[in-house]
């Protein structure tokens, strides 16, 4: 099967995934105690009288039967009307479009840092297995995996913004603002990739094809890059797709600490405020991102490792 056919087949499943996600989110949200009408009144610091709750329910459309609410919502979604937020009354599509770039920058920054640091570290610790650099990277991975992000973010702020005055505490607008948040997000991810790559390289080095390549008299650096790395990177790429969720979840905390007006913070506030339409849209957006990122990974894997094609029988 060619790659195009593969993509088309995978994308064809997307609507079904979205439908499933939407039904699940819709029903799960209704299980959360306390309804949005009351939350809105409480947020306003006004005692929620019965008249006010009833008026608010009607305004939010929450007085209709559940299935009607879903049907209306679904038909709006099919026409690409993403609705308005219960709280801000602004179109959700616009709010997401405003906030997505911030989160995307943060995620991209953290991805660059993650790969930029974990690839050399993983490689060096594999090449110098048991040596100082291996111990250091092992230690870093251990710290990275166990450190809570909010704490790390705060410590980084304390040293790099307060004590050294190199970077701003919060805000947006320049790349300098992105360094600390990206690093906070990257540090825990880095730990995973360093170890994955290290074990990947070590595994591949023991493979007969490496021995064969050496016997052919190929240069060590050539074997490393063309043969070993190419295969050792595969689990890292798979992990990247899987950890996409982890990355996006991490943005919630990081955006909070560094005051970045991104999607994570938006979601957090929406959950606390029971802003159903926003949460539903967010869930759908995440589903799309997950499907697309796993698709990209599959494509990359097909390119890197022809054995995947053989397994598919293609």
């Amino acid at each position: 099967m060619n790659t195009l056919g593969f993509i088309v087949r995978r994308l064809a499943g997307l609507p079904l995934v979205l439908l499933g996600v939407s039904v699940l989110t819709f029903l799960l949200l209704r299980l959360v105690p306390v309804e949005p009408a009351e939350v809105l009144l409480h947020l306003s610091n006004t005692p929620p009288t019965e008249a006010a709750i009833a008026a608010m329910r009607t305004e939010l459309g929450m007085d209709r039967p559940l299935w009607t609410q879903y049907a209306i919502w679904l038909s709006e979604m099919c026409r690409f009307h993403f609705g308005t937020s219960f709280v801000s009354k602004l179109p959700i599509a616009k709010e997401i479009a405003d906030k997505f770039p911030v989160t995307l920058q943060l995620a991209a920054g953290s991805l660059i840092l993650t790969l930029g640091l974990s690839l050399p570290l993983g490689m060096l610790s594999a090449l110098y297995q048991g040596k100082l650099i291996d111990h250091i990277s092992g230690g870093l991975a251990f710290v990275g995996a166990s450190i809570p992000r909010f704490w790390l973010g705060f410590i980084l702020l304390y040293f790099f913004s307060m004590k050294l005055d190199w970077l701003p505490v919060q805000g947006t607008g320049s790349v300098l603002h992105l360094i600390l948040p990206s690093f906070t997000l990257a540090f825990t991810q880095m730990a995973v990739y360093t170890r994955l790559l290290r074990s990947g390289i070590l595994d591949q080095m023991r493979e007969p094809f490496v021995l064969y390549a050496r016997a052919r008299g190929l240069r060590e650096s050539f074997i490393m890059i063309r043969h070993v790395m190419k295969l050792a990177l595969l689990p890292v790429i798979t992990a990247l797709a899987v950890s996409m969720g982890h990355l996006l979840a991490g943005t919630v905390i990081v955006e909070q600490i560094f005051g970045l007006p991104g999607l994570g913070r938006y979601l957090m506030e929406s959950i606390l405020n029971r802003d159903y339409p926003v949460i539903q849209c967010y869930a759908l957006l995440m589903a799309v991102i997950f499907v697309l990122s796993s698709l990209v990974v599959d494509i990359v894997q097909r390119l890197f490792d022809p054995r995947t094609l053989m397994k598919e029988g293609g």
Binding site: V34, H42, S88, L127, V169, G171, I179, Q256
Partner: protein, 546 residues
């Protein structure tokens, strides 16, 4: 050979990283940094302060997500609430009330214009109040909405508010930050209804919203059309920073000039800043009361002796001082004496652990030998205490109370919940103890009275249902709100507050104050009587770059 190659790889990586870093730095040098913005470009005097949530669309006739302090910066009311509870002129120069208390005539201040230069007059007052009343249900928590019949224009500078029934706190409610404040004509949407949105935030207040980036910052500039004494600084920049610890760091780093409000930073951080001695500190009068609502309907708290034992059994002063570092004062009554009608003669129940134990013994809650929890008829004296999980102070208070109550043989199971679940539990009476805060001036004492007699709203009514004289209290509340006689109101409030106090229906914890921390180059900060109006008018900066 192998080693040499890996060195190559390492060097390549270092170069790549170095390029990336340089690219980042170079790009940044071109764009202005946060510090230079807040320091005031173009020589404008700017004060930067943090707030934890976005200021919202600033619709004067609606509530959340608009933040009250920001609404208070842009919009004004007919009358204002001043220290001590006195009602003073605002946009109305003076007013008269008819003998039957049903007609209020307001004489508007002349020469007042909105920030866009359009005039503020009787038409404007009518249009705004009508818009508020069109969305009546939304404001049903205010008694005035139920009592207000019509607004009529007499001439350009005179308006009359007609009521259909007497309601004494009309002026207090008009003084509140929302919804009875005034939007310029150009701010009204096409259909004239402000119940969903407005076109632009145009008010008569001292500040104008100049720049706004949702969830990032809001820049308020001095309203050059302002009728009163104009603000001393040119701009107030409100930075939206959700994390309180980051706020403290940014403040210490001088990215922020001033921190004002409650809950903006943690009390530990406040102590840290205060103890450093490097900053100016000021504090408002006690504004709101933090209470623990005791469920008089269900469980052991339904017994008067148990409730009283709690009052006597906890060293409240020590508890509050250890948690709030002076930003809260231990409360010995439901409403602070500074609140109108609340300066009532009451016998405080002061810390006396022996008396607490005696009260429990008398009630039949006996401590069996060798046990730590009292029992009665085989039932253990266990109380369920709910607090809001995200509120650090509530958690600390709950934990200390737990420890103190254990001393007198009461076991307290504390549970942290989501804000809304907490409210639900308060309403359903699921737990025995819940936190609650009064609204403070200008809404108290009448708001406290209203919610005490209002089923299904805040849970305060339900919590009191076990009181033997609950019906009388409710009757007195209904009478007091409609009473025309000042002396009768005084008497009724005294009765209500005394009765609730003597029956220990609430456990008053502390009076909360508003705190301000600022760099020493900031002057003129005097916290206000109403916590929703921020004292930004007289603020000044002696040196623009702190």
């Amino acid at each position: 050979m192998k080693r040499k190659n890996s060195y190559y790889l390492m060097i390549i990586h270092i170069i790549v990283l170095a390029i990336l870093t340089t690219a980042c730095t170079q790009k940044d040098q071109a764009s202005p940094s946060a510090t230079s913005e807040s320091g005031g470009t173009k020589e404008l005097k700017t004060i930067t302060m943090p707030w934890r949530t976005d200021i919202g669309p600033l619709n004067p006739h609606l509530y959340d997500p608009s933040q009250m302090f920001a609404q208070g910066m842009v919009y004004e009311s007919l009358v204002n609430y001043s220290n001590g509870g006195e009602i003073v002129p605002g946009l109305a120069e003076r007013w008269t009330v008819s003998d039957d208390g049903l007609t209020y005539t307001f004489y508007l201040r002349k020469q007042v214009t909105y920030s866009d230069g359009s005039p503020f007059n009787a038409d404007s007052v009518k249009r705004n109040i009508d818009a508020v009343m069109a969305n009546k249900q939304r404001h049903s928590w205010m008694g005035i909405v139920d009592a207000l019949d019509s607004v009529e224009k007499v001439d350009d500078d005179t308006v009359v508010l007609k009521l259909n029934k007497f309601y004494y706190p009309v002026l207090q409610e008009l003084a509140f930050v929302r919804p009875f404040r005034f939007l310029g004509d150009a701010g009204f949407p096409e259909d004239g209804q402000t119940s969903t949105s407005i076109k632009a935030p145009i008010g008569t207040g001292p500040w104008v919203l100049k720049e706004y980036k949702k969830d990032d910052y809001a820049l308020f500039a001095r309203n050059e059309h302002y009728w009163g004494e104009k603000p001393k600084v040119d701009q107030i920049k409100v930075k939206i920073m959700p994390d309180s610890e980051s706020i403290v760091l940014a403040f210490e780093k001088k990215e922020l000039d001033l921190i004002y409000g409650r809950g903006v930073i943690s009390l530990d951080s406040f102590k840290h800043l205060k103890d450093s001695g490097d900053y100016g500190i000021s504090q408002s009068d006690p504004l709101t009361t933090r209470l623990v609502v005791l469920n008089t309907q269900k469980g052991p708290t339904a017994e008067l002796n148990v409730r009283k034992a709690m009052e006597y059994g906890i060293d409240k002063k020590k508890m509050v001082d250890s948690i709030a570092y002076g930003t809260e004062v231990a409360a010995d009554r439901i409403l602070a004496k500074e609140i109108p009608y609340a300066n009532v003669q009451l016998t405080p129940m002061e810390y006396d652990i022996n008396k607490a134990k005696q009260l429990l013994d008398e009630a039949g809650w006996i401590l069996p030998p060798g046990k730590t929890v009292r029992e009665k008829n085989g039932q253990r004296l266990v109380l369920k205490f709910t607090y809001i999980a995200t509120e650090a102070v509530q958690k600390s208070i709950a934990e200390i109370m737990q420890g103190e109550l254990a001393q007198i043989g009461i076991q307290t199971d504390i549970q942290g919940v989501d804000v809304m679940v907490g409210l639900q539990q308060l309403k359903s009476g699921e737990s025995h103890m819940n936190f609650w805060s009064s609204l403070g001036p200008p809404n108290d004492p009448h708001n406290f009275a209203t919610v005490s007699a209002q089923p299904g709203a805040t849970g305060i009514y339900e919590a009191q249902l076990g009181l033997p004289d609950k019906k009388e209290i409710d009757d007195q509340i209904r009478t007091v709100l409609a009473s025309k006689s000042e002396s009768e109101r005084k008497k009724l409030y005294t009765n209500i507050l005394t009765s609730l106090h003597d029956q220990a229906a609430f456990y008053p914890v502390s009076y909360e104050t508003y705190i301000a921390v600022y760099h020493k180059n900031i002057t003129g900060l005097i916290p206000q009587a109403s916590k929703y109006d921020f004292p930004l008018l007289n603020l000044d900066v002696t040196n623009t770059s702190p």
